[in-house]
């Protein structure tokens, strides 16, 4: 079916022109806040819902997942951005250069659904680009503006020309214009950045829920919840001695670049030989690539050099980040 035929069909069904929902149209990942690998409640600056970092200038920040969503179209979740007695709460997403190149020098439209449940200041938005390819140490602001917000859900759209320097990477930032100490809460969802001067219906950048998860895991992945890694991850753990084991584990999605590996709690894991368990006393990284990561595991005496053994994480969490 051609695009013209499809559009025609949509027009017949909805009595109006509408662009088809297509994967990849939206340059913003997780714009519908479907994916929350890091948790669903945050009280400090940093990454929150996948791909979205949150911050404020002053005040007490609270970013949570909300089920308060527009009635039509429906979404699974919105992001609640709350700040108490402070200034400039905001969320931002950096789009990697390989994707934002398509926006460089083009007319683009940013759209999102939002409502205020506290405070009356406007929403502000700022776009910016990286100083060099995927290096955000010296970003430059590109376009900015502000729009009034109400206590009801509404869709906002802003059309502007993206800088030719968007080839270095592009960032979208949305916040509340709380210039002096203010308490505000903003709900936002359905964020989309697309080519052209019209805000078309929202699409997940990954097309489907699974596609969106895989897209998010290109930038961040957490291994936790007591998985037996050698079983779940398909990796290999091999004893070097009775007290030292090495393991290499596959990452489910090829990541943007070699990720940083954070080990939260290096104790709490155990090894299972098939016969008995032994506690892990320390875990360190043996390196990571965009497809796998390697661990060095020190543990109580068990087995022998050359034995295969399963690692169970217990309370240990591995976080792999290839964020921008």
């Amino acid at each position: 079916m051609s695009r013209a035929q499809l559009t025609s069909t949509v027009e017949q069904n909805s009595a109006g022109a509408a662009a088809p929902v297509v994967a990849g149209k939206n340059a913003v990942a997780n714009g519908g806040f479907d994916i929350w690998q890091r948790g669903i409640s945050f009280s400090s600056a940093g990454y929150t819902s996948d791909r979205w970092s949150g911050s404020n200038s002053t005040g007490t920040l609270s970013i949570t997942r909300s089920t308060d969503v527009p009635s039509s179209p429906k979404f699974n979740y919105s992001l609640s951005l709350a700040n108490t007695s402070g200034t400039y709460p905001q969320i931002a997403q950096r789009i990697e250069a390989a994707n934002s190149t398509l926006l460089a020098g083009q007319t683009v439209t940013l759209s999102f659904y939002a409502k205020s449940t506290a405070g009356s200041n406007s929403i502000y938005w700022i776009s910016s680009y990286a100083g060099s390819a995927d290096n955000w140490s010296s970003p430059t602001n590109d376009q900015s503006g502000a729009v009034a917000i109400t206590s009801s859900w509404a869709r906002y759209s802003l059309t502007f020309a993206a800088s030719a320097s968007a080839t270095n990477g592009y960032q979208i930032l949305i916040g509340r214009q709380d210039a002096s100490s203010t308490t505000s809460t903003t709900l936002v969802t359905g964020i989309q950045l697309e080519l052209g001067s019209v805000a078309t219906p929202f699409s997940r950048a990954g097309g489907t829920l699974q596609g969106e998860l895989a897209l998010c895991q290109r930038y961040y992945y957490a291994e936790s919840n007591g998985y037996t890694l050698a079983t779940v991850g398909g990796g290999i753990c091999r004893q070097a001695s009775t007290t030292q084991t090495y393991g290499t584990f596959r990452i489910p999605t090829i990541m943007r670049t070699g990720p940083s590996l954070t080990i939260v709690n290096s104790t709490g894991a155990s090894l299972f030989s098939g016969v008995s368990n032994v506690s892990v006393t320390n875990i360190t990284s043996n390196g990571a690539t965009n497809t796998s990561y390697a661990l060095s595991i020190t543990h109580g005496s068990i087995g022998a050099a050359g034995y295969a053994i399963d690692l169970s994480l217990g309370t240990v969490i591995f976080q792999l980040s290839a964020e921008l």
């Binding site: 140490s137 943007r256 670049t257 990720p259 940083s260 954070t262 390697a294 290839a322």
Partner: protein, 58 residues
């Protein structure tokens, strides 16, 4: 607690940067120019004007 960096060599011979985080966790950073944590490490080294193996980020 202050963030500190330490350059390490893994048992597989690779160079890696261990960042001791404020919450007590450790982040192992590959020496990959496209990794944003490695970019931050290099920026910290440049800011300190002391390209030593051990460095501190305020």
């Amino acid at each position: 607690m202050t963030i500190t960096y330490e350059q390490q060599t893994t048992s597989m011979g690779a160079t890696i940067i261990a960042r001791n985080n404020e919450d007590g966790s450790v982040t192992y950073i590959p020496t990959d120019p496209a990794n944003s944590d490695y970019q931050a490490y290099l920026a910290t080294l440049a800011a300190n004007s002391a390209p030593q193996a051990n460095s501190t980020e305020s």
